[in-house]
């Protein structure tokens, strides 16, 4: 089995980082072997990376459905659990029920969206991670794993593209 090493290359801008991603791919690394870390969002198209999958929209829909069902229970179910008949008034009036259904659906959708970010990003996560504080100062980091024997070749190639530093990535307490 080939021994691998994790490296973190730091670039001053998105352009050289995108070129580095392309270069690494050309040198045999797969997209799963690398990750781009930045202080400002850079789209997949900018970086030449595959589409990032997010479960947040599906979780949001699930939350909306859950909220709607809770709203159905509140508006249509609870009056039957302890019926109080008031002269001339229906036990379940529809227009006021729409208000309850709307609020509960939106609440479910928004809470699920929020929690979706936590689930998909595995937040909170206070374990040590590969990171350098310069990233939030605008540097773009390309974090990748490569076979040890390719290290020299890759390092030279990334340095030629303008990498400010290429160092073994050490997980550190954020």
């Amino acid at each position: 089995m080939t021994e691998k090493i994790s490296l973190l290359a730091l670039f001053p801008d998105i352009d050289p980082a995108a070129q580095a991603v392309e270069k690494l791919r050309g040198m045999g690394l797969t997209d799963d072997d690398m990750n781009v870390i930045s202080g400002t969002p850079a789209t997949e198209a900018m970086l030449g990376r595959p589409h990032q999958w997010s479960n947040v929209p599906r979780l949001a829909l699930g939350g909306a459905l859950g909220g709607f069902l809770i709203g159905v229970f509140f508006a249509f179910g609870t009056p039957y659990l302890y019926p109080i008949e008031v002269g001339g008034q229906p036990l379940i009036p529809v227009p006021p029920s729409v208000v309850v259904l709307f609020e509960m659906t939106m609440l479910g959708l928004l809470v699920a969206t929020f929690l979706g970010v936590f689930l998909d990003s595995r937040f909170p996560s206070y374990a040590p991670k590969e990171y350098v504080p310069q990233i939030s100062d605008g540097k773009i980091a390309v974090f990748f794993e490569c076979p040890v024997e390719k290290r020299k070749k890759i390092t030279d190639a990334l340095a030629a593209l303008g990498a400010e530093s290429i160092q073994p990535a050490e997980a550190q307490k954020l």
């Binding site: 990032q52 509140f74 006021p96 208000v99 100062d137």
Partner: protein, 474 residues
């Protein structure tokens, strides 16, 4: 010669850079340092105002509230027929203020209005803190506040659930949904800035930001999930915002009372909320810019210009709904409604009715058409103050003044506030206090959003003119 210089390409570029934050980028590290310095610098004036407000909150809010609880609701000026006084005026007022954050942040995000970028967080903070004051005002009005859990949606020991077909239950659901949603919407775009603050802090601040930033480091997946969620929030929170003040308006409109039973109260209240809220955002930004270090770089006259235009348009919308509501009621011919409308104009609080119209319509219309006025921060602050006083008057006229006149003339009685007045001052002081504390604890400018905007902006030549070009980056 001077004219030639003014039209030279270099001069034009410099003018555009000074005018637009998006065209005046600085290195990210430098912008981070500016925001962190603003957070960490605390002047003696800040400390004095903070201490003074703390005393006002302790005395006027918690002290007087304690007195109200000990003495009972008799300490307030509430009585039949005016059973809703300043407590509810303040509730509606603060919910109105809270609308601005969502409106500015979500709607302008949906429409990709670029000038929003430096001040979305300042506006979102207003939403959360405004809702806190609204909720406190409701609790004060409850009297036996320790029984407030009765409103929660669960059955009592007899298995009886709250009545979800009551407007008060709608209020509970709507305000809580909005409070939760706006707090989450405030927090999501804050995570990358908290991570930035974590990287630049030491001691207890480092620990605080480390916990709050949740381990964010800016990996591709983290950004994707965050941006997806923020897009969903931006679209979904808008109907929630509209629903909240509409439901608040139904507390009044669903009642068969003169002056209240109106079909357009929903949109009328929503526009009124935006009127006071946007004016409040402008006021807060003027103060933040004047008192916090480095904020002149981020908050430029272009922001006030844009907000001034919004204030003018919303003022026209408010005038339209006011007149629409007034006209139909006036034309209706109901004698009690007729008496109420005359009471508004000629009664003991007639000055308030006319002041409301002057502050909400005449002042903005006579001033905000002028670009120089809109771009003058302190002029805009003054206009915003007038609008907020005018909108508070509007709520006072709708609630206690209108409650004075009902269908039973033998019960008519004027409202004289009791402990509500200092409690109202207490909520205002508490709002400012929370805002001041937040300005020292969270980055008030979303630096990553500003940088993202600056990356999307460029200048290009069209013929002889240099124009601003914005790229679609999402």
């Amino acid at each position: 010669m001077t004219e030639a210089l003014e039209h030279s390409p270099g001069h034009e570029l410099e003018r555009l850079r000074q005018e637009h934050l998006m065209l005046d980028p600085r290195p990210r590290g430098e912008m981070n340092a500016l925001v962190m310095e603003a957070m960490h610098t605390t002047s003696w004036k800040f400390k004095m105002v903070f201490a003074l407000l703390s005393v006002v909150v302790a005395v006027c809010l918690f002290g007087v509230w304690g007195y109200l609880i000990a003495e009972g609701m008799g300490a307030a000026g509430l009585t039949d027929p005016v059973y809703w006084g300043i407590f509810l005026v303040n509730t509606v007022f603060w919910i109105g203020i809270s609308h601005a954050g969502t409106f500015v942040s979500a709607l302008l995000r949906v429409f990709k209005a670029e000038y929003r970028r430096p001040f979305t967080r300042a506006a979102e903070l207003m939403t959360t803190f405004g809702l806190v004051q609204a909720a406190l005002s409701v609790f004060m009005h409850m009297g036996r506040v320790w029984l407030s859990y009765w409103l929660f949606p669960y059955p009592n020991e007899r298995g009886l659930w709250p009545n979800f077909h009551s407007p008060l239950s709608w209020d509970f659901l709507a305000i809580n949904t909005y409070l939760l949603a706006s707090t989450m919407y405030l927090f999501l775009p804050l995570i990358p800035d908290l991570a930035m603050a974590r990287d630049r802090s030491t001691g207890w601040r480092k620990t605080l930001y480390r916990i709050l930033s949740l381990g964010f480091r800016g990996a591709e997946g983290e950004w994707t999930h965050l941006r997806t969620a923020m897009n969903i929030f931006a679209f979904a929170i808008l109907p929630v915002m509209f629903s909240v003040h509409t439901i608040v308006s139904w507390d009044f409109a669903a009642a068969m009372r003169p002056g209240w039973n109106s079909t357009i109260f929903g949109p009328y209240f929503v526009v009124g909320a935006l009127h006071s809220g946007i004016a409040a955002v402008a006021m807060v930004l003027v103060v933040v810019r004047a008192t916090m270090k480095n904020m002149k770089y981020f908050i430029r006259p272009e922001v006030f210009d844009a907000l001034g235009k919004l204030m003018l348009i919303v003022s026209m919308g408010w005038a339209y709904f006011f007149f629409n509501d007034y006209m139909v009621q006036w034309y209706g011919g109901d004698s009690f409604t007729d008496t109420l409308l005359h009471f508004h104009e000629n009664g003991p609080l007639g000055w308030m009715w006319f002041s409301m119209l002057i502050f909400n319509v005449a002042v903005p219309w006579l001033t905000l058409w002028n670009r120089r006025v809109r771009r003058n921060p302190w002029a805009l602050f003054g206009i915003g103050l007038f609008i907020n006083i005018g909108m508070w008057f509007e709520r006072y006229i709708i609630i206690p003044t209108s409650l004075t006149i009902n269908f039973m003339p033998f019960t008519w009685r004027e409202y004289v506030p009791g402990v509500e007045a200092p409690l109202g001052i207490g909520t205002l002081a508490f709002f400012i206090l929370l805002y001041m504390a937040a300005s020292k604890l969270v980055p008030l400018v979303p630096v990553w959003e500003v940088q993202e905007g600056q990356m999307a902006h460029s200048l290009r030549k069209v013929g002889k003119e240099t124009i601003v070009s914005v790229a679609e980056m999402e």
